[in-house]
Amino acid sequence: MENKKPLSPHIQVYKWHISSLVSISHRITGIINIIGITLICLWASLLLLGENSYEAVNLLLNSQIGKFITLGLTWSFCFQILSEIRHLIMDLGYGFELKTTKITGLLVIIGSIFLTIILYLIGKNLF
């Protein structure tokens, strides 16, 4: 009888809001960053193997997919840093009022996109 009882719907029905979105994105970007750092290490090691392997990586990074990965990783790092700062402030006990959490959450999202664009422009030598 006990096991027959159904489990009520949870993540299927629960509404997302800014704080929960930032929180889950923080975890996802954390995982992406670990993969990203590994890739960057591999890239750096390939430099040691000489001009040919460097060229191959260069070709990959200049392709559409390469550009997407680079930009994506840049955003992921930016998001993680800003979100981490938000969580650090919360760990100090500040910023728990609903309104504040909404504002800081939005700041993290908008800030991460803004930082990515700035880094892109710096990379393009537009500054």
């Binding site: 009520s8 719907p9 993540i11 029905v13 509404k15 704080s19 929960s20 929180s23 760990d91």
Partner: protein, 259 residues
């Protein structure tokens, strides 16, 4: 690893459709989660057309109307209807709250009503909260004093009393705990926002003499530190309390205290 999907016996099917019989022009569709323990069937969503011209302002009024006028088999908890008892906590429009204090005007489109999330369902909108009550018991929510002879009242300054504001008002409706994804995945071990807010309430009570042992008790990787400040709890609380902040305060006390 947490199970993201619902088990097979919990998958929600389409249910019955109750067409309006009053001939009202002002109708709203209300989708309600139903499960009948006397059958072997899966839970289903029944849809009711409700005449809004003759319905008071809160979601609980809609449920009462359905039960009284359309379908008497619907089961849900309710008692005070004034946001004090915490009985009618449920998930409305994807957010936990008290049906008696949630205006249906604030919900756009069809009204979706589910039981509190990630609970074993007893019937329809009634979830099993035994686990939560056991956890509440585990934090020993009563004043503990070692003083041998208590012949007079224990004094508390106005400042110390003010520290309890925002913690003592909790009505244990479980809106916060059942809104918390960490509690969904680790509800058997993680205490959850409602119980941790109460743990905090007794830790900071100046009259309580077991502060350190209370702190030691919650200082646990699973009991306390599963909180990842998702803040579903604070945004769900129908009494406007802030369990997430209370949990952060406990973490802070543990980080700075010498116990």
């Amino acid at each position: 690893m947490a199970q993201i999907g619902l088990p097979d016996n919990s998958k929600v099917k389409k249910g019955k459709y109750f067409k309006d019989k009053t001939g009202s022009k002002n109708l709203r569709k209300v989708n309600v989660y139903r499960w009948d323990p006397s059958t072997e069937e899966n839970p289903r969503i029944d849809t009711y057309e409700v005449d809004m011209d003759n319905c008071p302002s809160k979601v609980l009024d809609i449920l009462n109307k359905i039960k009284n006028e359309i379908d008497p088999t619907l089961a849900y908890r309710r008692s005070c209807a004034h946001g004090v008892c915490g009985s009618c906590a449920m998930n409305m429009d994807g957010k936990n709250g008290l049906a008696c204090t949630t205006p249906h005007k604030e919900i756009d489109g069809d009204i979706n009503i589910y039981p509190l999330p990630h609970l074993k369902v007893k019937k329809d909108l009634i979830g099993d909260l035994d686990g939560l009550y056991k956890q509440y018991q585990s934090i020993e929510p009563w004043l503990k004093s070692n003083s041998k002879s208590e012949t007079k009242e224990i004094f508390q300054s106005k400042e110390d009393r003010a520290k309890l504001d925002g913690a003592y008002e909790c009505i244990m409706c479980a809106c916060c705990s059942t809104s918390c994804p960490s509690y969904w995945w680790n509800g058997d071990k993680y205490l959850g926002p409602a119980v941790l807010l109460q743990a905090y309430r007794w830790i900071i009570d100046s009259r309580d003499e077991e502060r350190n042992s209370r702190l030691k008790k919650v200082a646990d990787e699973l009991k306390l530190y599963r909180c990842h400040t998702i803040l579903n709890c604070t945004s769900a609380c129908p009494k406007g309390l802030n369990p997430a902040k209370a949990i952060a305060e406990i973490k802070k006390m543990l980080a700075t205290a010498n116990i």
